[in-house]
């Protein structure tokens, strides 16, 4: 059962993080973010109690809701929809997955846990960093930070199950989404002038 859940989470993560990287529609991006947090929940509940791991899901969805409320149409505008850009990003994503695959046994050796679990966490960290590297738009940056942080939270869940840490990380995720919403509101105010 655990293995099946891990595989479902892996497929969800790979798909969602790729959509987040190449999508130019904010609705698709927010849906992908929500699915990404479903995958994070499926993985975290393997090492944490169900109630505590549900925090990750709720917080992730709330972060998505906060970003949605700010109507981030302008947030993804910068990137002209070109196939070359999409192909480049997809190739870069495959490279990140390869690196994550190569590194996951090393992380298992140091931290513990399973390879598939750490492959997922490293994919998220890598995709988040890639997202941060390819754009300067506020929404993409916040999505990148949330993705990278979600990856780290997976990794960290294996070694730390403190409620206080979970709470503070949840506050940080929500704070980031609020910062993103604030940036987007500034952007739209500027444009409406």
């Amino acid at each position: 059962m655990t293995a099946l859940l891990s595989v479902i989470a892996l497929v969800l993560l790979l798909g969602a993080s790729l959509v987040l990287l190449i999508s130019h529609h904010w609705r698709w991006s927010i849906v992908a973010l929500a699915l990404q947090y479903v995958a994070v929940f499926l993985l975290v509940q393997q090492v944490w109690p169900l109630g505590l791991s549900a925090v990750k899901l709720v917080v992730g969805w709330m972060a998505g809701a906060v970003l949605t409320a700010s109507q981030p149409e302008a947030g993804l505008e910068e990137d002209a929809v070109s196939w070359a850009t999409r192909i480049f990003r997809t190739v870069a994503a495959f490279l990140v997955w390869l690196v994550a695959y190569a590194l996951s046994p090393v992380v298992v050796e140091v931290i513990g846990g399973t390879e598939i679990f750490h492959f997922c966490s490293l994919v998220l960290v890598g995709m988040g960093l890639l997202q941060l590297g390819v754009s300067t738009r506020p929404l993409r940056i916040i999505l990148g930070l949330l993705t990278a942080l979600a990856g780290f939270e997976l990794l960290y869940a294996v070694v730390e199950d403190s409620i206080m840490v979970a709470g503070l990380l949840a506050a940080l995720n929500l704070g980031l989404s609020m910062a993103g919403a604030y940036f987007l509101s500034l952007d739209s105010t500027e444009e409406s002038r």
């Binding site: 050796e109 140091v110 941060l132 300067t136 506020p138 940056i141 990148g144 930070l145 990278a148 942080l149 780290f152 990794l155 960290y156 070694v159 730390e160 409620i163 206080m164 840490v165 503070l168 990380l169 506050a171 940080l172 704070g175 980031l176 609020m178 910062a179 604030y182 940036f183 500034l186 952007d187 105010t189 500027e190």
Partner: protein, 465 residues
């Protein structure tokens, strides 16, 4: 009543109350000033952790507050830190009205200070990373009030400060594992690398410092000056806490060598960029980088004198940054472009503003008779004793910033057709001239002004040499 309640919980509650007054900018600035001043005075007079006898009454101010199973601890040794940060808050509150900064500055600045004090007080230490991250989030509306637009500097600032969180959390876990199993080299490597990265992100260390000059240019100069002063000072103290807490870390040759290497890089690159800078806000950013590099070099000396130099350099640095940021904000308030061309001949129209700009820059560059000189000179002497090439490079970096300062001074004093006049208003003039006098007094009588405050700071790090 315990120490964390006095310096963390009550100020936090007052921050909430302050929000109701934030539209009356003068009142909120005054309230912030008095709150911070009261906390500084309390840090001076209250003997935390020991018994106080008042007539027949004897009571103790405990050091610890337990909150959700975690502890906030403020000991007598943290006095210097409390005086420093709340003193910083009081100082910057004085300039709120003159700088024409956004009205949310008062509550947000106090909130940041409280969160950063909590970050140093919290145990286990790893929670500090999360509290610093929350403080960073609070600083965003402070630097970028409604009406602004997030530029690449602010977004990079957010990225780097957020990425520091996982690094520090991981370092905290790995370091505690190394304490349990000292022979595990892999965990030691993980702890060192993640701590190094985390501190590099926090402190805007080479090569992650590109956001500093950009933020100085994008945000309101006064707000940027406050955030950069407070965050970097806190990050330096947290770095020392890490070194103090883990024996294997403070004895690691690699960590100390890394501190020295990045310190030199920061002083040299910051100095070179400052020497050829035409933008006043970026010059401000590069001066911060040079000064941070010098602070890292002082820590890398790994001796009591090195730490004393670091501590002695803090107050001059914070006052120089305040004077500089206030002068920049006053110029911006007058719609004067913050470039060398924009301030040409300004010394004839606004002599106090011009003097503040020039002297603050030269002070951070380590010019003799100005505030930062005694600590910088002592640093160069100690560095030369350990490694002459490092001392020479540090000297050259300092010269770069001084060159930038002299170029600025030259531009400010260029002859114009207008005659001399004092164009500053009374409050600006009073604040700026007091700042200038303090910069000069600390430079001429460093021991007399600072007293034993730097040595008091060392009490917080009993395990460091």
């Amino acid at each position: 009543m315990n120490a964390p309640l006095i310096w963390i919980v009550i100020p936090l509650a007052l921050t909430g109350l302050l929000w109701f007054f934030h539209k009356q900018i003068k009142h909120s600035a005054l309230i912030t000033f008095f709150i911070c001043l009261a906390l500084v005075v309390l840090a001076f007079v209250l003997p935390v952790g020991s018994f106080i006898k008042m007539g027949l009454l004897t009571f103790e101010i405990p050091t610890t507050l337990t909150l959700f199973g975690r502890r906030l601890v403020l000991e007598a040794a943290d006095r210097y830190w409390l005086i420093l940060v709340y003193g910083l808050g009081a100082l910057w509150a004085l300039g709120i009205v003159q700088s024409r900064v956004h009205r949310s500055f008062s509550p947000l600045s106090l909130l940041m200070i409280v969160l950063l004090v909590a970050a140093r007080a919290v145990e286990p230490f790893l929670y500090a990373a999360l509290l610093v991250a929350v403080a960073v989030l609070a600083s965003l509306p402070l630097m970028l009030p409604p009406g602004g637009r997030p530029g690449s500097g602010i977004t990079r600032y957010l990225i780097f400060q957020t990425l520091a969180v996982p690094c520090i959390l991981l370092a905290g876990w790995a370091a505690s594992m190394v304490d349990i199993n000292p022979s595990n080299e892999v965990l030691r490597l993980v702890a060192s690398v993640s701590l190094g990265l985390g501190l590099a992100f926090w402190l805007a260390v080479f090569p992650f410092y590109t956001w500093v000059p950009l933020v100085a240019g994008e945000a309101h100069p006064f707000a940027a000056g406050f955030v950069l002063s407070l965050l970097t000072t806190t990050a330096l103290f947290l770095g020392l806490d890490f070194l103090n807490g883990f024996g294997w870390l403070r004895n690691s040759e690699i960590i100390i060598a890394a501190f020295r290497l990045v310190g030199v890089f920061m002083v040299v690159t910051g100095g070179v960029w400052a020497a050829f800078q035409e933008d006043l806000t970026r010059l401000f950013g590069y001066a911060i980088i040079v000064d941070l590099g010098a602070a890292l070099l002082a820590i890398s000396l790994r001796s009591e004198i090195g730490l004393t130099i670091f501590a002695a350099g803090l107050i001059p640095r914070l006052i120089s940054l305040f004077v500089w940021a206030l002068a920049l904000a006053c110029l911006q308030g007058r719609q004067i472009p913050l470039t060398f061309t924009g301030v040409t001949g300004l010394g004839h129209r606004l002599p106090l503003l011009a003097a503040a700009l020039g002297l603050a820059c030269l002070s951070l560059g380590g010019l003799p008779l100005l505030a930062a000189f005694p600590a910088r000179q002592a640093l160069l002497v100690e560095l030369a004793a350990q490694s002459l090439p490092v001392a020479i490079w540090t000297l050259l970096g300092g010269f770069g910033l001084l060159l930038g300062g002299f170029r600025l001074l030259h531009v400010l004093l260029l002859r114009t057709e207008q005659g001399w006049r004092i164009g500053e208003n009374l409050s600006e003039g009073l604040l700026l001239s007091t700042g200038i006098i303090i910069l000069l007094l600390i430079g001429i009588f460093p021991g007399g002004i600072l007293g034993d405050l730097p040595q008091t700071m060392l009490l917080a790090f009993p395990n460091l040499p």
